[in-house]
């Protein structure tokens, strides 16, 4: 059974469950497929057992919204990444305007990621090639990491070391960083994808394992101890994967969403697809795992739908 909600007029780019409540999720959406026009942040109530998705609030923005991240330290706050280069912080107990706004990126902000260990900071990754570290209470960015030679699409925090994160981008590389590195230089660079790397995530149980998806239509698993080559590769598929996420409950499963207009769950040990969610009618851009209910997932797509569904729990 799949619960559905239509974000009428707005194409879904990213969806995320609240880390505080098992009944809240948020979706970042854009009009006109994100080409031009407005954005909207939708807050949804998830009824228990995928009974339904009820709209709770929505916040409109001037430019499209491409990503969002719940504040790990504040249950009512969400940061959004916008097409005009701005980052906004919203409080879902208030209506209308954001509670904070930062504008340092010169181009579209594609990814935003709250640190879930050191919960006072978050990262933004932008098409201007930079990655910025922020504290919601400080009006300027704390640090800027400029090393990618093209757009940066996504970042992910290490689950074991509060200062470490990884980024990926147009320059086909994955870079490993520490926010404490004195020169703002990366610790390591991983090459091996043949095209832009769109998405990445850190295994929550194996502190040295990363997964990436690329325009070269493959998914690769990496061991950060060995920057020279990947551990495993899946694909090439017919279409590339837009977003890839490790399960919060198991070291062995990833969820993918992509240009094949479906979402899938994979066993990374053998590359087997264990579940396919095929109800979307356009590209699927956002996917997330519930942190409370194993196998509960949300997706959002350019078909203006947010879906909530239960994947059978596999070991």
């Amino acid at each position: 059974m799949t619960a559905k909600h239509r974000t009428t007029g707005f194409k879904g780019y990213s969806v995320q469950f609240s880390p505080f409540s098992d009944q809240l999720l948020a979706a970042a959406t854009s009009a006109n497929f994100g080409l031009v026009g407005n954005g909207r942040l939708s807050i949804l109530n998830a009824l228990p057992g995928t009974e339904g998705l009820a709209p709770r609030q929505q916040y409109d923005t001037q430019d499209g919204l491409f990503d969002l991240s719940w504040n790990e330290a504040h249950e009512n706050q969400i940061a959004t990444a916008s097409g005009d280069g701005s980052i906004k912080l919203w409080d879902i107990t208030l209506n209308g305007l954001p509670v904070a706004r930062w504008h340092e990126h010169k181009r579209e902000v594609m990814g935003i990621e709250w640190n879930y260990i050191a919960k006072s900071t978050f990262l933004s990754s932008s098409w201007d090639g930079s990655v910025k570290l922020w504290n919601p209470a400080i009006p300027q960015s704390l640090r800027t990491f400029n090393e990618h030679t093209g757009c940066v699409y996504a970042s992910t925090w290490s689950p074991s070391q509060s200062d470490q994160f990884a980024t990926c981008g147009e320059d086909k590389t994955i870079k490993l960083w520490s926010v404490n590195e004195p020169n703002g230089k990366s610790l390591a660079t991983f090459g091996g994808h043949n095209d832009q790397v769109l998405s990445l995530d850190w295994n929550k149980y194996i502190p040295e394992q990363l997964v990436t998806s690329s325009v070269d239509r493959t998914i690769k698993i990496w061991d950060i101890r060995n920057p020279r080559g990947q551990v495993a590769m899946f694909g090439p598929f017919e279409f590339s994967v837009r977003r890839v996420k490790f399960s919060p409950f198991s070291p062995n499963f990833i969820a993918t969403a992509g240009y094949d207009m479906s979402a899938s769950v994979w066993d990374v040990r053998n590359g087997a697809v264990v579940y396919v969610h095929d109800l979307h009618k356009e590209f699927v851009f956002g996917i997330d795992w519930s942190l409370f209910h194993p196998g509960l997932m949300a997706t959002c797509s350019w078909d203006e739908q947010v879906h909530l569904f239960q994947v059978p729990v596999v070991k």
Binding site: S30, N32, F33, G34, L35, V36, G37, N38, D60, T61, Q62, D63, G64, G83, D84, G85, S86, L97, P98, R101, H103, R107, E108, W127, G129, G150, C151, Y153, E170, P182, N194, D195, Q196, V215, D216, R217, I221, N226, G229, V231, A232, M233, F234, P236, F237, E238, F239, S240, R242, Y259, D260, M261, R269, N270, G271, K281, E282, F283, W302, D303
Partner: protein, 724 residues
């Protein structure tokens, strides 16, 4: 062929921050189908398109926002298009003179320095009057909404028409937003504005057809990039429908809206009155097409000619045929959704408004129909491809791994075989006297002279492992195994190399090979061995179990060090480091002089955070082999982890000076043999890594100057403060 992304390849210069170019970035791209020339020209064309479109938009936005500002009551909902539309409509009747004057004055002020303000002012007047009269073909009817910043977040901002105008412009020209703008920054405006005005003039003369054409081309290419897909969802996709409209010039991007173009409006007016819907237009076209398709022959796609193509890559073949007049090709909607009744499901690919040469080419290459049978074949092929691709996971499939790359110049090459054998023998007996690079060079010369010498290949492989050149080690060891499949040491060593490189599946295979060939343990291997290697989980359990049983065959103190080493490696793969430590310790009790094993023990201990124990193990390795660079470096890492940065730095410096000595030795021998050192690759594999570690220690020790010396790789700079 091209997908979205090659239209915007080059990063920071991707042109103005525009959503469309961004979209292109994210879409799929197929390298196998890429054609360099087309891709590059279309990329440029697309950027240009957007620069121009942007300019036009911006200028209009300028005036639009101006008018909106004067006419819009405060507090108007910025998203209420209808109301905005009325407001704009009103202002169209009578130009709002006051703000225009203010603007012009403001503008003139900025332009004064250039002395050209009069012209520009005229240009501006023209531009704005054009807008006011509604003569602009694309934008005239489009309601625009004001910026949120205007009525929202930055409501406290003084109502400065200039700033507002630019607020909108910024979106497309990377200008900083007014909310962040400092007064002094306004100086940037004229430069930004001038080209916009000029372009506006050009636009008025040329119309907007050109950029629309480029946009259409891009959209057509996006369609082309998926034209070989059998995914049924593509047909019904709203996004691809939009791409089709863009491709046909029936929609365009104006401001922040996707709108119907004039062409579409005319077309639809001709067919179905005034209702400008794409659906109707589309159906009409689809009807024509299906009629045409029905007239032509169905099926028979897999002609002999095409079957050959299929063997190479069906998709590529198909794509190539599409590549030329791609602009004209479209993937149309589901025929069943049209009003035409079809006897049979004819096609996923219906082409529309085809130019005659395209049609000819298309027919020549393939019949444009896929019948049910053909489709099944395609699906089967895709399925098969996806199955085989899974085999590559955790596998060392890179063909480079089987090729051993010799150094281009080798001063041992001309040596007599007997003398060379002596030299190598001497090096093996005195590992401290010979540098690693030198030893590898000699061994390479030996295998060049006698390529069938499996034992020498094995030695070379082991030395390359020591040299941290795992790829070369894998190549040498594979060669050794191909010459002598029974070489147990080679299998074990290759298993270690695979583990280091992360090719876990291959590591399990090699260790299995080892045990299956071992005279003492091969009886443990069941006949159905291959069945147990089918998936990674089963493989891990099965191989580990084999080795544990092998270990149990030698009870008491009589254990086999090789089995313990292999078990240690296996437990490293499965990240059971505690067990691995026990295995290595057991092996070391039998082989206390194996410095590589001591280093491996230390590295495993470091994994579980036992830095102190790890240091002791590295120390033992270095006692046995003082020039063991890897152990030096590992020791420095362990020191860093314990916060002993000075010790860490010293170990790095020793490692670097050892490498320096090594390189100097090779260099001088090379010079003596009249060879270019550039053609030799001495053991400098880890050098950059060590310099980085050293730099970090310098920062931790508060020595920023020495940290800079690391950038230059200046070893001598450290001699005053450190001993090494």
């Amino acid at each position: 062929m091209s997908g979205f992304s090659d239209l915007v390849g080059a990063g920071a210069d991707c042109g103005p921050g525009n959503g469309m170019s961004g979209l292109m970035k994210q879409f799929d791209r197929d390298h196998s189908l890429e054609q360099a020339t087309q891709a590059s020209t279309s990329k440029q064309a697309f950027r240009q398109t957007f620069r121009q479109t942007t300019a036009a938009t911006a200028s209009n936005a300028t005036t639009g926002a101006l008018m909106a500002q004067t006419r819009t009551p405060q507090g108007l909902n910025p998203f209420n298009f209808a109301e905005m539309h009325r407001e704009l409509g009103g202002s169209r009747v009578r130009p709002p003179m006051a703000p225009q004057a203010a603007w012009a004055a403001d503008f003139a002020q900025h332009q004064m320095a250039n002395g050209s303000h009069a012209d520009l002012e005229r240009a501006f007047t023209q531009a704005s009057s054009g807008r006011v009269q509604g003569s602009h073909p694309v934008w005239a009817d489009q309601p625009r909404h004001t910026n949120t910043q205007m009525s929202g977040v930055a409501a406290s901002m003084p109502p400065n028409p200039m700033a507002l105008a630019f607020n909108d412009t910024r979106m497309h020209s990377m200008m900083p937003g007014p909310g962040l703008m400092q007064p002094g920054m306004a100086a940037g405006y004229p430069m930004q504005f001038q080209p916009l005005q000029q372009q506006q003039q050009q636009q008025e003369q040329q119309g907007v057809s050109r950029q629309d054409g480029d946009l259409a081309k891009t959209a057509a290419q996006i369609l082309g990039s998926v034209s070989d897909s059998a995914n049924p969802k593509l047909k019904d996709s709203e996004f691809f429908s939009l791409m089709r409209q863009l491709a046909d010039g029936k929609a365009t991007v104006a401001g922040d809206q996707v709108v119907a173009s004039d062409k579409a409006r005319q077309d639809s007016a001709q067919t179905i009155g005034n209702e400008p819907t794409w659906a109707t237009e589309f159906e009409k076209r689809a009807d024509e097409l299906i009629a045409r398709e029905n007239a032509s022959q169905d099926g028979g796609l897999f002609s002999p000619e095409l079957a050959r193509g299929l063997e190479r890559n069906w998709a590529e073949e198909f794509e190539d045929t599409l590549d030329g007049p791609l602009k004209e090709s479209t993937v149309s909607g589901d025929p069943r959704k049209t009003d035409v009744q079809l006897e049979q499901p004819t096609s996923d690919y219906v082409h529309g408004e085809a130019s005659s040469d395209w049609l000819e080419q298309f027919k020549d290459n393939i019949q444009p129909m896929l019948n049910q049978h053909d489709r099944e074949w395609l699906d089967t092929q895709k399925e098969w491809e996806s199955l085989t691709s899974l085999e590559t996971s955790h596998r060392a499939v890179d063909p480079e791994l089987s090729v051993y790359h010799f150094q281009r110049a080798n001063y041992y090459e001309g040596m007599e075989p007997a003398a060379l054998a002596d030299t190598i023998q001497h090096m093996r007996q005195n590992p401290e006297a010979a540098s690693l690079g030198d030893t590898i060079m000699a061994m390479e010369a030996a295998v060049i002279q006698s390529p069938q010498d499996a034992a020498m290949w094995l030695r070379l492989g082991l030395k390359q492992q020591e040299n941290e050149q795992e790829q070369a080690a894998v190549a040498a060891l594979r060669k050794a195994i191909s010459l002598d499949p029974e070489s147990l040491d080679a299998h074990l060593a290759l298993g270690v190399s695979y583990t280091n490189e992360g090719y876990q599946a291959d590591a399990y295979d090699e260790l299995h090979e080892w045990i299956a060939r071992h005279p003492r343990y091969k009886s443990l291997v069941p006949e159905s061995a291959s069945a147990n290697m089918s998936n990674s989980d089963a493989r891990k359990g099965y191989v580990q179990d084999l080795f544990i049983r092998a270990a149990r065959m030698s009870p008491g103190q009589d254990w086999d060090a090789d089995v313990q080493v292999a078990l240690g490696v296996l437990f490293n793969i499965s990240t059971e480091y505690d067990k691995a430590v026990d295995c290595f310790k057991a092996a070391l009790s039998k082989r206390p002089d194996d410095y590589i094993l001591w280093n491996r023990l230390g590295a495993t201990q470091a994994h579980v955070g036992s830095n102190k124990e790890a240091t002791a193990a590295y120390f033992r390795a270095l006692e046995l082999h003082p020039s063991f660079i890897r152990a030096r470096y590992n020791m420095s890492l362990a020191s860093t982890n314990m916060g002993q940065h000075r010790e860490a730095a010293e170990n790095c410096l020793i490692a670097l000076s050892l490498q320096q000595r090594d390189m100097d030795a090779v260099d001088s021998k090379g010079k003596a043999a009249n060879m270019d050192a550039a053609h030799m690759m001495p053991a400098r594999g880890m050098s950059a890594t060590i310099w980085n570690a050293l730099q970090l220690s310098m920062y931790m020790l508060g020595e920023p100057k020495l940290a800079e010396a690391c950038e230059r790789q200046d070893l001598d700079a450290f001699r005053t403060k450190f001993e090494f």
